[in-house]
Symmetry: C2
Subunit: 342 residues, 2 copies
């Protein structure tokens, strides 16, 4: 297990992005989101995703300098075209616009179309909560999962983010609509383990905890079976309809890597405009106490609300260095033109 | 299996509500929502829920004539206090206000606090879609489910509704956050069957498909394990925060039956104001074709989008009569003062 100081991680990723054609400022911001994802324990969309993002830049699937364009404004709603610019930067712009609109109108909604992979969606929830705002955001994706009752991949995993500010640590949910990601299947298989719960069907249609069998069948399980199947369908059509953008069946035709051309929604509320921030604080503190006060299934187990463990990981990584995969870290250092000069 | 003509069902329920103290108009509207729920195959919140609602009226837990009061208006947002009036009527009012606000602002949001059980949440999604609008709505509830990692009930099942209009049949999701309801556990146990998939933990903490074992432990499973646990927490605090109302831990203290004092959100979009209804139609038709075109797990199985089977059931029931539980039908007829005169 390797540890890298946070700043070295961010700096190295930024250099890799500049070498791949991004301007200094854009590379720096994108690198910060990747580094923060790893720092929060979301390795899949942090350091580990850097080589693929560089590949997309080099292939021209992501336009490094494109910026979102306003298509339409209706009161508290803005529709933006992301021009297939870097997904993090587009989503960041959309988040900040939603926060500004919320400050003006109580609610702010940005529907972003024709964008690219936003990496770790939760980042935008944390950002909103850091600014005292409530956020609901989601993206659609290309298909990677069968609909309930089907065997071929027709649904996206359409991550959903919900965030509420809390002084002692924000409440932030960041969930994809598959029970496990393909990344989780791969890492579990590589260490010769089984999934803790069934993660999909094998090629015979039997529910299984064997990650390799699911990778082979490509029949990953929607979270909650028919429930996640239904929820991901609605998230998809809503994102595409409200942004006048593409739905999963159309993103599949674009076929330029994961999420290229996808549609996203950013919905922010300003608690100061709706009642009071104090009431919100009471609510989330009461919930936190109630959930944390659960009788645990095993002695010593901590029952947590979404975001609680993330913050613990973040603080530990900031102190002791961010955990990195040694091989990927070497690869990214090479993309950056070699290790950082000390 | 008994069948009752739709109109007789609605009329009988209305008479039962009038006898329990509701005015004619309010009884008629409430009865329609119960009858439509059964007609759509959602028996638990249709006819089957009538005796409990009557009981709540008689106990004074629901105020039959109370009407929602405007607490605050901020642009496209209204906060209402439901005064613990009939949950269906409060939610209907909130839905219609959200639709009006959406027509004016593109988006309309009603946050309703201090209301009572809305019965079948999907009804409000169908209503919005019938009027060409997109809707997202949810409610919180008293606790009925342990948080992930806990053994005691601390989370509500907080049903979430999402609806998008479609000419050939709306796309309407209506999902609670538990994998199965207690009603489903009971009916499965009574017919001596097992759940199709694990629905909770037994008293030893083992995942089980045995409905009786879960009823005994009260450890029903959040849909998608930790995912549903997290999602229901966020739905709860958002509903309470935005409505300046009660969260699950506070509803538990009210302790006047299911959902009394709960908080609800109704969020409507007008597709005519956001781009076009034609674009939306293209999106949902494309999705429907894609999902319905899945390769089924067994020959002849139909892979559907949310709402598709509901509509099939509705049309069949309208034609051949609504399926009712004979015993409950007799009970409701008695509450109505006897069977309908023919």
């Amino acid at each position: 297990m390797n540890r890298v100081p946070y700043q070295e991680l961010e700096d190295t990723i930024a250099r890799a992005f500049v070498k791949a054609g991004m301007s200094e400022t854009k590379a720096r911001t994108s690198a910060r989101f990747h580094a923060e994802a790893s720092c929060d324990g979301v390795y899949s969309h942090g350091l580990n995703r850097v080589p693929r993002f560089v590949d997309y830049l080099l292939k021209g699937w992501v336009e490094p300098e494109a910026e979102p364009v306003l298509v339409r404004q209706i009161g508290p709603i803005e529709v933006l075209d992301g021009q297939r610019g870097p997904g993090i930067l587009n989503a960041l712009h959309a988040t900040d616009r939603a926060l500004e609109l919320a400050a003006d109108h109580g609610v702010g909604i940005v529907a972003l179309r024709n964008t690219t992979h936003w990496m770790r969606g939760g980042a935008f929830g944390w950002r909103a909560a850091d600014r005292g705002k409530v956020m609901i955001a989601w993206t659609n994706t290309e298909s990677c999962m069968p609909a309930w009752g089907g065997t071929d991949t027709r649904l996206g995993n359409n991550p959903l983010v919900m965030a509420v500010p809390r002084a002692e640590g924000h409440v932030v949910l960041d969930m994809a609509m598959s029970q496990y990601s393909y990344g989780k299947l791969q890492t579990t298989r590589l260490r010769g383990a089984q999934l803790p719960y069934a993660g999909g069907f094998d090629s015979d249609g039997t529910l299984t905890t064997d990650p390799g069998a699911i990778e082979a069948s490509r029949r990953i399980l929607p979270t909650g079976f028919w429930k996640g199947s239904g929820l991901t369908i609605l998230l998809d059509v809503l994102a595409a309809a409200l942004s006048e953008g593409s739905a999963t069946h159309q993103i599949d035709k674009i076929d330029r890597g994961s999420c290229t051309g996808c549609s996203q929604i950013f919905l922010a509320f300003d608690p100061e405009r709706l009642g009071s921030a104090e009431h919100l604080q009471d609510i989330v503190d009461g919930m936190a106490g109630y959930v944390n006060g659960s009788t645990p299934t095993e002695p010593g187990r901590k029952v947590t609300y979404p975001g609680q463990n993330t913050l613990t990981t973040r603080l530990e990584h900031r102190k002791n260095g961010v955990i990195v995969d040694a091989e990927i870290w070497q690869e990214v250092q090479a993309l950056a033109g070699g290790p950082q000069a000390v």
